[in-house]
């Protein structure tokens, strides 16, 4: 069965991903993602009952270290790449007052 994706589904996923897509991009994405989703259907052939998911290639857990304070980036360095700052903080669009 060929997977298909509606423009509405694409727009919803784009919203979740915080990604603005043009109408052309949405249409192209719907077609291209459907092809890939169609292809990955082959995984349904595989019996994975009783198989533990493998999240990492080398399974190490609970890597701990001593709680020792280290150096942090100086503020100027941390702010240096930000698109908008006031020299002390990162600036974002106002969120409490809007239309």
């Amino acid at each position: 069965m060929a997977a298909s994706l509606s423009i509405e589904q694409v727009a919803k996923v784009a919203g979740l991903a915080r990604l603005k897509l043009s109408p052309e991009e949405q249409a192209q994405m719907a077609a291209q993602l459907a092809r890939v989703l169609d292809y990955v259907e082959i995984l349904n052939e595989v019996d994975t009952d009783d198989v533990e998911p493998m999240a990492h290639a080398v399974e190490v857990t609970n890597v701990l270290r001593d709680d020792v304070a280290g150096e942090s980036l100086p503020r100027e360095a941390a702010l240096a790449n930000a698109p908008k700052t006031d020299g002390e903080c990162f600036l974002v669009p106002p969120i409490l007052e809007h239309d």
């Binding site: 694409v10 727009a11 919803k12 996923v13 784009a14 919203g15 979740l16 991903a17 915080r18 990604l19 603005k20 897509l21 043009s22 991009e25 994405m29 291209q32 993602l33 092809r35 890939v36 989703l37 292809y39 990955v40 082959i42 995984l43 349904n44 052939e45 595989v46 994975t48 198989v51 533990e52 998911p53 493998m54 999240a55 990492h56 290639a57 080398v58 190490v60 890597v63 270290r65 980036l73 360095a77 941390a78 240096a80 790449n81 930000a82 698109p83 908008k84 990162f90 974002v92 669009p93 106002p94 969120i95 409490l96 809007h98 239309d99």
Partner: protein, 513 residues
């Protein structure tokens, strides 16, 4: 005019540096001259380090004074532009990070500097390493030095091309699904992906964190071994980096492996494999047989599911990792034109997902507008695919299912390595494809990753060694894979093949058509 020449042998350059016959400053100037004369045609570099000659002079001075020097003392090296270099732009091939200058060095950069390597510049790549051709870079194309109509492969295409064109003897890349081994194969150089956890990922801009690994390119096996020796080892800043001593990979490099048992995966030699690639692989395996190895057929029954597994796991991790590009802390922010323009620009579709968070809408709209204008098509595609696969209602069917198949693939390899020491096979089903040939067919491009992605899914180390040249004059690599942490075995085996070929090395020049 030719762009390809025998890549400089690391051993030769190092010997000349050590004897004083060549200064590091001259070696670096030589690289810069070569870059100036060749790189307009190739496009391997995104930026150069203006202070490279000064760094080289400082190392020459240390040498003159008889001070202790590092393993890579004076050797010029290029760095994939996905690895953070303090004070040097690190763009990831993306408009998003066009002006990003990291305030810190990646672990591998600290290690290279501690070993007195000289960073010459940063190399082109597919945007955020997402691609197999270096065509998704937001800034430029990179061309294959063997034939400029062809792709150098990707995503570390700039690093591979820089070594193949003789611009630098050494380069670092990163490999998430084949991004070191495939361009190494396409460009006729050595490229190694270490075991997951062998090299710290601290400072490597994350694409798919459970798959990413940094590794070396070089014109010779020795150069790859030397770089790995410098960068491997524990770093507590990457909690997946294994605390296990790294051997001296160069020490026993010339010692051939005895009673080597080589496995050929029967599923690898099937429809879709270019006959010339198959012939080159079989010829290379024949070389090992002539050196005393035995060849055994092994089976990886789940290998046909590797591409599907990868293209669910990698985009899922990417969608999560790339969520950090929000136009606030670093990276590009869409220009705000008037108070409510972000909401309008983002379109009404955002309202349904933001119903409960209406007051945050200008912020969400700023994120969406910034990401929409700064990410390229392939990055958007993978973010969308991953977001879809992780979204409510689909998580079990896609992401969790893929993680389970991933374990079955690993079990297949563990079983195969009970009876063989190495697995040999193709790197890519074809030699380098043409630029533009596959860029409009993402799935066809993904399917070419069939032989390389298993090493990432399983975490196993793999190497690409030059094994031949096609009738159309394009290089073909041999891929060797080994059990976890057996990089030394890969390098020694690679050296066996290299030594056999050294005798009959032919001029690798491609004349311009």
């Amino acid at each position: 005019m030719t762009n390809c020449r025998l890549p400089p042998s690391t051993t030769d350059v190092l010997t000349r540096l050590q004897s004083g016959e060549l200064s590091s400053a001259d070696a670096v100037r030589g690289c810069l001259d070569r870059i100036r004369s060749e790189d307009d045609a190739i496009g391997a570099f995104l930026s150069l380090d203006e202070s490279a000659v000064a760094h080289a002079e400082a190392i020459d001075e240390k040498r003159r004074r008889g001070e202790p020097l590092g393993k890579l003392a004076g050797l010029p090296i290029a760095i994939k532009d996905l690895i953070c270099t303090r004070g040097l732009p690190t763009t990831c091939g993306s408009r998003m990070l066009e002006n990003f200058v990291p305030p810190y060095d990646a672990h591998v950069i600290e290690r290279l500097k501690a070993e007195d390597a000289v960073i010459v510049g940063k190399t082109n790549l597919d945007e955020f390493a997402m691609g197999s051709s270096t065509e998704t870079s937001a800034f430029q194309l990179t061309r294959n030095p063997w034939n400029r109509e062809h792709s150098p492969g990707g995503s570390s295409g700039g690093s591979a091309a820089a070594v193949a064109a003789g611009m630098v003897p050494l380069a670092l890349g990163s490999d998430t699904g084949g991004s070191i081994r495939q361009p190494a194969s396409f460009c006729g150089v050595v490229g190694l992906k270490p075991t997951y956890g062998r090299v710290s990922r601290y400072g490597l801009v994350a694409y798919a964190s459970s798959l990413d690994q940094i590794g070396p390119f070089a014109g010779d096996v020795y150069g790859a071994a030397l770089q790995l020796e410098a960068i491997a080892g524990h770093d507590r800043r990457d909690s997946t980096c294994i605390n296990r001593p790294a051997p001296a990979y160069t020490a026993a490099l010339d010692q051939p492996l005895e009673k080597l048992r080589i496995g050929l995966v029967k599923e690898h030699f099937a429809a879709g494999l270019d006959p010339e690639v198959e012939a080159a692989v079989r010829e290379a395996v024949g070389v090992y047989e002539s050196l005393g190895a035995t060849v055994h057929e092994v089976s990886i029954p789940h290998s046909k599911y590797a591409v599907a597994t990868y293209y669910l796991i990698a985009p899922s991790e990417a969608s999560s990792n790339l969520a950090r590009y929000d136009g606030v802390h670093y990276g590009r922010r869409a220009e705000q034109r008037g108070r409510s323009s972000f909401s309008a620009a983002a379109g009404g579709r955002f309202e349904e997902v933001e119903e409960q968070e209406k007051e945050l809408r200008p912020l969400f709209a700023m994120y969406a507008a910034s990401r929409g204008e700064a990410f390229g098509a392939e990055v958007k595609r993978r973010i969308m695919l991953g977001t879809y696969a992780l979204s409510a209602g689909y998580y079990d069917a896609y992401y969790l299912k893929a993680l389970k198949v991933r374990r079955l693939i690993r079990r297949d390899f563990d079983r195969a390595f009970e009876s063989v020491d190495l697995i040999a096979g193709p790197v890519c089903p074809t030699p380098a494809f043409k630029i533009g040939e596959l860029i409009d067919d993402p799935l066809a491009m993904y399917l070419l990753d069939i032989y390389t992605i298993s090493a990432n899914l399983t975490g196993l180390p793999g190497i690409s060694i030059p094994a031949g040249v096609s009738s159309s004059g394009l290089p073909i690599g041999l891929q060797l894979m080994a059990p976890p942490f057996e990089e030394e075995r890969l390098l020694r085996a690679g050296r066996m093949l290299e030594r056999d070929r050294e005798g009959r090395q032919t001029e690798k020049l491609v004349t311009e058509k």
